[in-house]
């Protein structure tokens, strides 16, 4: 297939359509609304379900209901809307139904603004809802990557009967780039729906999908089951990309748009003869702790760059475990760092590293 010029929000929505997504429930919020608009047109064309909910609270519970039916279902939103979905996400995690959600992050807290941010790391990666659960979180840095990750997200969600969140910032939602869309998959046939899904108790015992375990001992058994599943996820689903780390003395760790900006800064610094490389986590949960730990064995200093006050920073520190100093550069409030700013940080670090 040929590349075409695609806007991020439209690209991931179409990728979901092609992944066989059978229902989309959402609520308009900038900067992800084009995804909802794309689904409003596309899903009925294909005889699939689109419904604009009365709120994000309702949207995620509609997603929950459709997921119980064993169909591929998703929603998308942006930070304040995702906050409203936290209750539903906790119930979905507690019910082990597969769901895909895209969060196109914007500036906050509160109403904040509609500019790109990475302020939802803690909310998504650390689990903003109540109880012990984790969300598989994938962070794209390009339009092609948001397409590929969204397309695959449905398989991953079903493999683990878990929630997969595509965590991207407003610039990825809004920008246009040439990218290639994947082939179209048909929606799942009714008879192929999972053996746990609610299809009507015909010729079998009734099925119940619930997140309640009133007996603490039973709840703990369920919690332990989730922990076991997390171990599998942590063993199988770590993703990252690395750039020029082989001989690096300084490593940058940055994800999504911040990672992409840092890539330019790394090339700029290399031109100046500074031995710097980049590790860009693609999966934020599971986090590439081991890989960053290995980098820490090799480099003198690590710089974390985020469009937040330092949220992934905590995970990098855990990975580095005190082996080398970890510095931080962040822009907040919808401000995006320029490659030059990050380059200056690298220069400073290089002086410290070789002082």
């Amino acid at each position: 297939m040929a590349k075409e010029l695609l806007k991020g929000n439209v690209a991931f929505a179409e990728a979901a359509v092609r992944a066989g997504c059978e229902a989309y429930y959402g609520y308009p919020i900038t900067p992800q609304t084009e995804a909802l608009e794309h689904m409003a047109k596309r899903m009925p064309e294909l005889g699939r379900v689109f419904l604009q909910a009365e709120s994000e609270v309702a949207a995620i519970n509609m997603v929950y209901g459709a997921a119980c039916a064993g169909v591929r279902v998703m929603s998308s939103s942006s930070s304040p809307g995702v906050s409203l979905m936290m209750e539903g996400l906790s119930y979905i995690a507690g019910s082990e139904v597969p769901v895909v959600l895209v969060d196109i992050m914007r500036g906050g807290p509160g109403l904040g603004n509609i500019a790109p941010s990475q302020g939802d790391y803690n909310q998504i990666v650390k689990g903003g809802g109540h109880g012990d659960y984790r969300i598989i979180t994938l962070a794209p840095a390009t339009i092609q990557e948001i397409i590929d990750l969204t397309y695959e997200a449905f398989d991953i969600a079903e493999k683990y009967r878990a929630i997969v969140v595509i965590l991207a910032d407003g610039s990825i939602g809004q920008m246009m780039e040439p990218a290639e869309l994947p082939p179209m998959q048909e929606v799942r046939k009714r008879e192929d729906r999972a053996e746990w899904s609610l299809t009507g108790a015909k010729g079998r015992d009734p099925r119940v999908i619930t997140s309640i375990y009133i007996d603490p001992a039973e709840e703990e058994v369920f919690n332990l089951h989730l922990v076991e599943k997390q171990k599998k996820i942590e063993a199988n689903e770590v993703r990252f990309s690395s750039l020029l780390l082989e001989d690096a003395e300084i490593a940058i760790v940055a994800y999504g748009t911040a990672g992409r900006i840092a890539q330019s800064s790394v090339k700029q610094a290399r031109d100046e003869g500074i031995k710097v490389g980049l590790l860009r986590p693609i999966s934020l949960y599971p986090f590439p702790y081991d890989e960053i730990g290995k980098v820490a064995d090799q480099v003198k200093r690590i710089l974390v760059v985020e469009m937040s006050g330092g949220q992934m920073l905590d995970d990098v520190r855990l990975a580095v475990n005190g082996k080398v100093p970890v510095d931080f550069y962040g822009r907040m409030g919808g401000m995006v760092p320029l490659p030059d700013e990050v380059f200056e940080q690298i220069q400073e670090l290089n002086q410290k590293a070789n002082a």
């Binding site: 309702a58 509609m62 459709a66 609610l198 009507g200 119940v208």
Partner: protein, 260 residues
């Protein structure tokens, strides 16, 4: 000598749509009656194998243990949204929610209003007993003026707490609603009427006429702090005057079939 043969005839049994499990409900509670009416109706309509129920948060949170059919358990108040999501991908299935007054009229007020407004093809069984049962007797959105609860110990003061919500009256105003009625479970005659209403509501859904809801005035002997018998009288004497029984909206197609 002629043998007088004993003839065994089954005249009353548990509906297939109920499981053979003792409920956790308090003695004298009408939840069991409501469950049975729904189960009998689903049996009579032959829809058990094509039905999915959505249970609420509240006393009936474990409703799925008592219904012999597929069930999902919603977050507090979100059953209409969950049922919407499910029904839209299974338009040929029979989908109902079972919700109490706190669930439906307080924390889930937005979800029920918009499900009705969209004309969502689901059936809602609304248990109104004017109190929060599961958490131990706090004020509900349907608690009557002056009614004592643990969070309105001096009686519901309308100056401070405002007025009870009359959900049938509200939802029947919406163009999406097709069948909105209020019945009571306080005596056998009313229980029979309640069952007929549940049948009509499922019929509305089967025919795709729009949103349907049956409100059932119910008791809570435990938290009302009275005997089961007194609680049934209390429904008649106190609840019905404030929440009048009747048909608030009946789709013409159903009204016609009723006459016919």
């Amino acid at each position: 000598m002629t043998d007088k043969k004993m003839v065994e005839a089954l005249i009353f049994s548990k509906p297939e749509s109920l499981t053979d499990v003792p409920t956790h409900y308090c003695p004298g509670c009408t939840h069991g009656v409501a469950h049975r009416l729904i189960a009998e109706t689903i049996d009579e309509m032959g829809m058990r194998e094509n039905t999915v129920g959505v249970a609420p948060v509240g006393c009936s949170v474990f409703a799925y243990n008592y219904f012999n059919m597929d069930f999902a358990e919603a977050a507090h108040g979100r059953a209409p949204a969950m049922a919407t999501g499910f029904k839209r991908v299974n338009p040929d299935m029979n989908v109902f929610t079972y919700q109490g007054d706190g669930d439906l009229a307080s924390i889930g007020a937005a979800e029920i209003l918009h499900a009705a407004g969209r004309g969502e093809m689901i059936t809602v069984i609304f248990i109104n007993n004017a109190i929060y049962g599961m958490t131990g007797g706090q004020m509900a959105p349907t608690t009557l003026p002056g009614q004592k609860t643990t969070s309105s110990p001096l009686g519901r003061d309308i100056e401070s707490h405002g007025f009870p919500l009359k959900m049938c009256e509200i939802l029947s105003q919406l163009d999406g609603s097709a069948y909105i009625v209020r019945r009571s479970l306080h005596d056998p005659a009313n229980i029979r009427k309640a069952k007929k209403a549940i049948r009509q509501a499922f019929e509305v859904q089967r025919q795709g006429l729009g949103f349907s809801m049956v409100e059932l005035l119910s008791n809570c002997p435990t938290n009302w702090k009275m005997t089961a018998e007194d609680s049934l009288e209390w429904i008649e004497e106190n609840m019905i005057p404030y929440f009048p029984l009747g048909d608030f909206k009946v789709h013409p197609a159903i009204a016609k079939s009723k006459k016919g």
